[in-house]
């Protein structure tokens, strides 16, 4: 089936269909049957045979000048009775070369390659599998926390192993480079909250309390949370992708065979950098959020000194301490979860992407749950 020297891609291919007595039909194919031209004869045959009860189909392929895989597929479709179910089909007139190619693929080959039936969902089995996966994940997380703690303690005794240049690199990429996005999001969130609160508070003549509200919300809740969520999206995902790619490239195996613990060599630096930078990022997010609220209040007409006095009266050093403590804990969560998901990366082309997604989703979920835990704890402590 050698291709011709010239390839007239639009050369016509035709099919003539003759219906004869006794349910007999003859299809005469002519011309060049390739991926571009095979569809024409297919449609012609399909239209002519539609609704006709054919018991015997004869395909005259003597007029075919060239036939590639697509043309062969048309012949096989006719032979397998796709257009004439139940009819006996004969294909004749193929050149010896085309006949050899035609015989290379049979109906048995087609039947043998029918896809396996999709697995049925079995709820108890799925539940069991899910529970087992969760339990295994929990055990891995506990083991990982232990390994990170061990790595941190080990580094305290042997600070040379810390690789401070790596810590600085993470500090820069996850901290300094995140400032523009933290600025924008925090400022806008502060601005929107203050703006939305201004209208109902105006009904009671209580717009001055926007300062109290924005101060408390940004310092105790949203500042740390937004800094942590941005860290999870920007850096937790990056940690998972970096470590995942290293695992896929067998770099982690290389570390282990050199006697280096991947947790101590790669994870500890990221965790330390994140824990050190999140208080700074959190305070910055608090400041920008409050600034957003202040801008709205200035727009309403309050003097800056009044806003300042209200903020200073309401906010205490304890509030800032609570906010930054949350930031530290969130930073620890984001770095640890990002690295854990990276180390858990499986094989396959979508594995790194899946790890990255899991890192971000798990981090955000844990941040929210931990934040709720903080709220309950602080409430209990205040009683």
């Amino acid at each position: 089936m050698k291709p011709p020297e010239t390839t007239p891609e639009s050369a016509a291919a035709t099919a003539e269909v003759r219906l004869e007595a006794g349910g007999r039909a003859v299809v005469v194919l002519r011309g060049r049957l390739d991926s571009l031209t095979a569809m024409g004869p297919w449609r012609q045959v399909e239209q002519r045979l539609h609704g006709v009860a054919v018991t015997a189909l004869e395909v005259d392929a003597g007029g075919i000048e060239y036939c590639d895989g697509s043309g062969m597929a048309l012949l096989h479709c006719l032979q397998m009775g796709f257009l004439t179910p139940g009819a006996t089909v004969t294909v004749r007139g193929l050149t010896p070369e085309l006949q050899r190619s035609f015989d290379n693929f049979s109906a048995a080959d087609y039947r043998a390659s029918v896809p396996p039936p999709p697995l049925r969902n079995h709820i108890p089995t799925d539940l069991g599998r899910g529970a087992r996966a969760m339990a295994r994940d929990f055990v891995e997380q506990v083991r990982f926390i232990g390994a990170v703690a061990q790595g941190l303690v080990g580094t305290l005794f042997r600070p040379r192993l810390m690789r401070w240049d790596e810590v600085m690199r993470v500090f820069e990429s996850a901290g300094a480079n995140a400032l523009p996005i933290v600025s924008l999001i925090s400022l806008l969130v502060g601005l929107v909250i203050a703006f939305e609160a201004a209208q109902p508070l105006a009904l009671f003549g209580a717009q001055i309390f926007i300062a109290d509200m924005i101060g408390l919300v940004m310092v105790r809740e949203l500042g740390p949370m937004m800094a942590a969520i941005i860290l999870a999206g920007r850096s937790g995902s990056a940690f998972a992708a970096e470590l995942g790619t290293m695992k896929v490239n067998e770099e982690l195996n290389a570390l282990q065979t050199m006697g280096l613990d991947p947790v101590r060599f790669l994870v500890v630096q990221r965790v330390v950098a994140s824990v050190l930078l999140t208080p700074l990022l959190t305070v910055y997010a608090m400041f920008m959020g409050v600034l957003g609220g202040v801008l709205v209040m200035l727009g309403i007409g309050f003097p800056l000194v009044a806003i300042y006095n209200e903020l200073v009266l309401r906010l205490t050093a304890g509030d800032v301490l609570i906010g930054t403590t949350k930031g530290v804990v969130f930073g620890l969560i984001v770095a640890a979860v990002g690295c854990l998901r990276g180390l858990q990366t499986q094989k396959g082309p979508s594995a790194v992407g899946a790890s990255t997604t899991r890192a971000v989703v798990s981090s955000i979920l844990l941040i929210i749950v931990t934040d709720a835990g903080f709220s309950i704890l602080l409430y209990v402590l205040r009683q």
């Binding site: 050698k2 291709p3 590639d68 895989g69 697509s70 048309l74 096989h76 693929f105 080959d109």
Partner: protein, 262 residues
């Protein structure tokens, strides 16, 4: 030899990245139906040249004529038509991980033809049978071995029955048996289907097994330094480095010095 016998003609090609010239003054012709091998040492620009031959990158200068059409100048529909006339197998196979093997092979047919789905499945299955992978049609690429992935990639490259197939390092990383199987497949397709092969490799056993003609690239001069049959180059090339390459001899500087037992 008239123009009809020429599948690919490369004229004065100069390729590189940014302002760094990787290869220059590259001119050669590939005859219709022959297995043509581009070879050279690691980092000499073989894969770069291949990427320019298939139109992935634009050359700094020169022309690449495929089936009588200049790929470098072709645009729009003319370029699309030309791209359909050759298939490419990438070094890693480049199968889409989210699709089954059958769907991978069927993909060019899904895009370029309006054949009904059953017919497209039949074409894809026929190609998979040709490369001995019909049984793996519904598996995911990640479930296949390296050799199987490369064969599946060849099946995908053949889906539209192109006259020319470009293969980038088809034998790299394969065991000798699988590699020999792939060589046999290339020879079979070249002989029985009349497909022109352009293969980038530096696997000597494969070169001897499949190549009708080879060209050799040189990293130092950045040019083409030899052209001919592999056996002839091995035995009679005036360039000592070419002979050394074919005889698989280490460079003098890296040859181990014999040590005196103590």
């Amino acid at each position: 030899m008239n123009d009809h016998d020429i599948a690919i003609a490369v004229k004065g090609l100069k390729v590189g990245y940014d302002h760094v010239v990787v290869l220059k003054d590259i001119s050669f012709e590939v005859r219709r139906g022959e297995v043509f091998v581009i070879l050279g040492g690691s980092g000499c620009g073989k894969s770069t040249l291949l990427k320019h031959l298939i139109g992935l990158f634009e050359p700094m200068a020169g022309e690449v004529w495929i089936e009588g059409v200049n790929l470098v100048a072709a645009e729009g529909e003319a370029r699309r038509r030309l791209l359909r006339r050759f298939g490419v197998m990438y070094q890693s196979g480049a199968l889409f991980g989210s699709l089954t093997v059958l769907e991978n092979v069927r993909l060019p047919l899904d895009i370029f033809t309006d054949l009904p789905e059953r017919a497209r499945n039949l074409v894809a299955l026929g190609k998979l049978k040709q490369v001995g992978l019909a049984a793996a049609a519904h598996q995911q690429p990640a479930e296949l071995s390296g050799g199987m992935q490369k064969r599946a990639a060849i099946a995908r490259a053949m889906a539209l029955d192109p006259g020319i197939l470009f293969l980038d390092e088809p034998s790299a990383g394969l065991d000798p048996v699988t590699s020999a199987g792939l060589d046999a497949l290339i020879n079979d397709l070249a002989e029985n289907m009349g497909i022109t092969f352009v293969i980038v490799t530096h696997e000597l056993p494969s070169i001897y097994a499949v190549a009708d003609r080879v060209i050799m690239l040189d990293q130092k001069t950045r040019t083409l330094i030899a052209e001919g049959r592999p056996e002839a180059l091995r035995d009679h090339s005036p360039n000592p480095w070419v002979r050394q390459f074919f005889k698989r001899e280490a460079e003098p500087s890296v040859t181990a010095t014999p040590t005196t037992p103590t």
